[in-house]
Symmetry: C2
Subunit: 377 residues, 2 copies
């Protein structure tokens, strides 16, 4: 938690549940990433947190943007981004969205299938397109592999065809999975992309860009490698596979830029032993749960850290659940959380590193709970 | 799909994705349930769909309401319900919510733990309280068992204590799990409750009410027993365990009343073979997914039926996914869906029986997609 957030919480005591984001921290992460990968162009993955305060700060810093929908493209433009700074980074796009993006001046689009390529050729003619490869997601806490990307052979064929269809085949992308803690995942993917660059060059097509995706991790319960280690590993792999003829490099950080900048302030609603006996499992129910924004606790994938007023006092293994009547609204049960035994109904609890993928996952009104309040400071 | 919805879709062609609900169908399901269980008091589980149009219709029909939060209590009151028609049915309640409900005249509350009972005694003194028992959820497609309810022994102890604390120990409740297709689940739970009624009576406490919860199923992909079968099984079990001294019976249907009254109209955004070859899996991406309202497809639990303009033409096994860049936004992959091979990007697709647990699960703006539009007709 940044000092600014700690001060805000102490002074304002905002109603719970709410998300507080320190926008200065987003800036410092942006600078750290740029330092670690000086020649990479940063395309912020807007989906991680599309708050105008964050987008405007990143516009001021000169960031580019990876948008998942026409809605996110509009948000970027409203925040002052130029259309040339925006990549339409979803391989699944409605025709009406492609058209609107094209008309607004966006000229960088991803695809991974024949049908999508045909849609782009017809509705965004002449634009730059890149093909997403499927790569291994091993090491990622939130994998993405099955749904997106295609094979090297198919990408080869589609990129050659793109040229014939009046598009500019511009590059290749991949995504090693979100919250990826293994630098080797990037190295393996770069090797694969490097080979395809060479093959396409032999076929007469010189690609110009490699999009390394995002996935750079933030610290939740466990320590993760520093961004410099990713920068070094990626730099070495790029040099190994491309030599001096480095293509343009794009990265799409989302979680990395905003995750640690945010804190959820919540309230304990109930502490109970499920069967009433001391030997029964202890449950703590918060006023935020899987449908109030903590969707990434599905399968207990993302394990947030907790801060309470009782930290340092004796703790016990605790199941942590949300406030709704839904049986799946449980955050941590298989792997319980070590929480102070002194916790009681009405106590405030902070969930750290919750700046990414919390505000927008939140449901519109499940069980009659209002969407999460957000404070950008 | 009801004729009214079919006509609405044909005439209005509403923008996708959207939910259309036939409120008359809600009424007919209410009447069918009342016919099947003539002496049961129906408490609609508001969480299934809190649309004012539905609440108002149910108020007109004389329904009572099971509310999961103070937000839902407000919605019921705004729709014209009397506070005496409302049960605060969440075992996890903020003190501020208990207070407000009490001040507004709600006088029926559930609990399943010591701490919650103490909160009720202090902030809703003198009100009627019932204790939720944990029961088996076998046979339910959306189980609820772990998070709620306590043991028979603990309930016995807490209900006796409730009296000493100035509350009116009123009854017992259980929930056999949502989309429960097995009538025996209710029979087993009633037997357990019956024994506890007897034990408490011996201890000098005469309970007045048994709340059978909800769980009554609707037809998705598979046929389910008719509501009359549940009515018969429950009636027989009640007579067996309570004889002529039948307590007041409450039921809390949510899905059963609104599920089949709703249809989601969606659009195909992309059809692709993940690797480009005919032998590769075929994926259909819709403009609605797990974060646009179809949250109950998590784990492929609830299997909606599809209707397309190509029904009757040759079909193939298909993976069905949502439009977001999220790797978990996949509805059906392990068990694929048989969909027409003629389906193309831009085609409309209807998802049947989507009136329950769709509108409010929807995210506020994940990936920049607006919340689901809703039409109540």
């Amino acid at each position: 938690m940044t000092p600014k957030i700690a001060r805000y919480l102490a002074e304002q005591q905002p109603a719970t549940p709410c998300l507080i984001v320190d926008v200065d921290h987003v800036e410092s992460r942006y600078r750290a990433l740029q330092d670690a990968m000086p020649i990479a162009h940063i395309y912020y993955a807007v989906k991680a947190n599309p708050a105008p305060e964050i987008l405007r700060r990143l516009v001021d810093l000169g960031s580019c943007f990876d948008a998942a929908s026409i809605g996110e493209i509009r948000q970027c433009l409203e925040a002052g981004a130029s259309p040339k700074q925006i990549s339409f980074g979803n391989t699944v796009k409605k025709i009406s969205s492609i058209r609107e993006a094209f008309e607004r001046g966006v000229d960088l689009f991803v695809f991974d299938s024949e049908e999508e390529l045909a849609k782009l050729a017809e509705h965004a003619p002449g634009t730059r397109v890149f093909c997403r490869l499927a790569v291994e997601n091993e090491g990622a806490d939130w994998p993405l592999s099955r749904k997106f990307g295609t094979t090297v052979e198919h990408a080869h064929e589609l990129l050659l065809r793109a040229k014939d269809m009046g598009l500019e085949p511009y590059g290749l992308s991949f995504h090693v999975g979100s919250q990826q803690t293994n630098t080797a995942a990037y190295e393996a993917a770069i090797a694969r992309v490097g080979m395809l660059f060479t093959d396409l060059s032999k076929a007469g097509l010189e690609l110009k860009m490699i999009n390394l995706g995002g996935g750079f991790p933030v610290r939740y319960r466990d320590d993760v490698p520093e961004i410099d280690q990713f920068g070094l590993a990626i730099g070495r792999a790029m040099t190994e596979h491309f030599g001096n003829a480095l293509p343009q490099m794009l990265v799409e950080p989302g979680r990395f830029l905003v995750g640690e900048a945010g804190v959820v302030s919540a309230e304990v609603v109930l502490v109970s032993r499920r069967g009433g006996k001391e030997s029964d499992p202890r449950w703590v129910y918060l006023d935020i749960g899987r449908f109030g924004g903590l969707a990434e606790t599905e399968g207990e994938a993302i394990r947030y850290r907790f801060r309470t007023a009782h930290d340092g006092l004796p703790t016990g293994q605790t199941v942590v659940a949300g406030p709704s009547c839904d049986g799946v609204d449980i955050m941590y049960e298989k792997k319980r959380v070590d929480l102070p035994m002194a916790l009681r109904s009405g106590d405030r609890v902070e969930l750290l590193s919750t700046g990414a993928y919390v505000s927008t996952y939140c449901s519109t009104g499940f069980n009659g709970f209002a969407p999460l309040a957000e404070h950008y400071i």
